[in-house]
């Protein structure tokens, strides 16, 4: 999974009908220092993540392994909202 921050939402009326009802979030990838990287993904929300929240995103076909993305054309899903990162010093 990758660490990311929700920076926005995509509104799209004309899309694959299997995406109807899916909330599309724009997630910028973060480093462990929480600095935003260049790349971003559009991910389907499965945990009610909102703008500004630090999240985890699963990508690839694993992204279809949730009730809200099963059998849908989805390759990225927000599946956790991060409370805290513990990074050991060594």
């Amino acid at each position: 999974m990758i660490l990311g921050k929700v920076i926005g939402t995509v509104w799209s009326t004309k899309k694959d009908e299997n995406l109807v009802g899916s909330k599309l979030l724009i997630v910028k990838q973060l480093g462990l220092d929480f600095k935003e990287k260049e790349n971003f993904v559009v991910a389907v929300d499965s945990v009610g993540a909102g703008e500004g929240e630090i999240v985890l995103v699963a990508t690839g076909s694993s992204a279809r392994q949730t009730n809200s993305t099963k059998n849908r054309p989805v390759d990225a899903v927000v599946m956790a909202i991060v409370d805290k990162l513990d990074i050991s010093s060594n």
Partner: protein, 89 residues
Amino acid sequence: MYFGKVIGNVWATKKYEAMFSLKMMIVQPISAELKNLGEPIIAVDTVGAGPGEIIIYITASEAVIPLPVDFAPVDASIVGIVDTINLAN
């Protein structure tokens, strides 16, 4: 499968319900010479790996196979703790 080093863990109370009992670690991908290779990722631990340990992890949808649940959005999981690496010189 890839080599990695566990460098921390992630606390996330709000997550996909099937993942409730799963422990998520921060893994720095490394080479066989233990040099860092690219960006850290988050992987579910299935073998009790702790920070500082050298591990083996798998990616893609196979990552859900070693988990106690069979349907969860996981794309990386730790499947082994490395004792030694023998490299032909």
